[in-house]
């Protein structure tokens, strides 16, 4: 997902790796990591808001890109030859991502892609397509993201 983010974001924003952050910002981001699934839905609680505020104290231009993936391995498709009853697989893969401004604590951009009927693997075509679609409309023009 990180590679997809790099490709999708391209030159629209500069991405800073966690390893290259100064120690204070790195610590805040590691704490934010525990809230990643919530943040990737663009949903902030008090803890997240406080952490983002402390990140903005380090640099007002910071924005946090949170990503999550949820894979559900459900039952496969079925067919009952006696009744004619059929069913589709209940497996699914959900990709969610959100870019949140540290300064305002508001969601700058968010996106999600659901792959139905499949617990997608990283090498699957459907995963590649979904990741590309996830960042298709990424745009931070005129907004305070770094």
């Amino acid at each position: 997902m990180l590679d997809a983010a790099r490709t999708g974001i391209g030159i629209k924003a500069s991405i800073v790796d966690l390893e290259k952050l100064d120690p204070a910002a790195d610590e805040v981001c590691r704490n934010l990591n525990t809230l990643a699934s919530r943040l990737s839905r663009g949903n902030l609680n008090d803890d997240a808001s406080k952490l983002l505020a402390s990140l903005s104290e380090i640099d007002l231009q910071y924005a946090v890109l949170a990503q999550s993936i949820r894979v559900e391995a459900g039952v496969g498709a079925t067919w009952n030859p006696n009744t004619g009853g059929i069913s589709s697989s209940t497996a699914s893969t959900l990709l969610q991502t959100a870019l949140i401004s540290a300064k305002t604590g508001k969601v700058i951009w968010k996106s999600e892609q659901l792959i139905r009927y499949k617990a997608a693997r990283p090498a699957d075509n459907s995963m590649g397509k979904a990741l590309a679609a996830l960042f298709k409309d990424f745009n931070v023009e005129g907004r305070e993201a770094k």
Binding site: N43, N45, G74, G84, I86, T90
Partner: protein, 194 residues
């Protein structure tokens, strides 16, 4: 002589089978006191947690379906109009039974609150038509902020052939009904009179 021996053997085997069946019958365990002590479950409006584009679903009717299923399990139950007295509810808050969030769920006077999320519902045409629905639910005791029960239910519906293709419009509702039943299947049935 042979016939009577065979008959005798058959009767003997049948009686052994019946004795085994009787011996295997396990007496029903009484429901957990945390369920029997419930005086009224307030079912909050269904939370629409579906990602992506959303098919039209009657969430009020879905809430009624949850209420009716709980009634059939002999729970005193009522439907509420409002979900929370403030703030956005996230699935992480429900999973971790965040006391700050649990306290705000439903009306202040209600003690047992159930919140049900619609995670997905979808139908498609294939060699017929199919429908899938997924729901999750949480029951909290606001007195101590504890999570009494949580469950997840997946419902599927489908019919093959040309006839099945014409039934696509019915698949979402059939899958949702099935998902509600699956979701609440882990809530124990209470005795009729308590």
């Amino acid at each position: 002589m042979k016939l009577s021996m065979k008959l005798g053997l058959l009767v003997g085997m049948l009686s052994i089978g019946l004795v085994n069946c009787a011996a295997k019958k396990i007496p029903k365990a009484p429901p957990d006191p945390k369920f029997t002590s419930i005086q009224k479950i307030s079912v909050l409006p269904i939370l629409d947690a579906r990602p992506g584009s959303k098919a039209k679903v009657n969430l009020r009717s879905l809430q009624s379906s949850v209420v009716n299923t709980l009634k059939r399990k002999h729970y005193p139950v009522g439907a509420e109009e409002a979900t929370s007295s403030g703030g956005q509810i996230d699935v992480d808050d429900l999973e971790s039974a965040d006391p700050g969030v649990v306290k705000k769920l439903g009306p202040d006077a209600d003690r047992w609150v159930m919140i049900v999320m619609l995670n997905d519902v979808h139908s498609k045409i294939t060699f017929g038509s199919t429908g899938n629905a997924e729901m999750s639910g949480y029951l909290f005791d606001k007195a101590d902020g504890s999570l009494v029960w949580k469950g997840k239910g997946t419902g599927t519906a489908g019919q093959g052939g040309l006839l099945g293709m014409t039934m696509k419009g019915m698949m979402n509702s059939a899958a949702l009904e099935s998902a509600v039943a699956a979701l609440l299947s882990t809530m124990p049935n209470l005795p009729k009179s308590r």
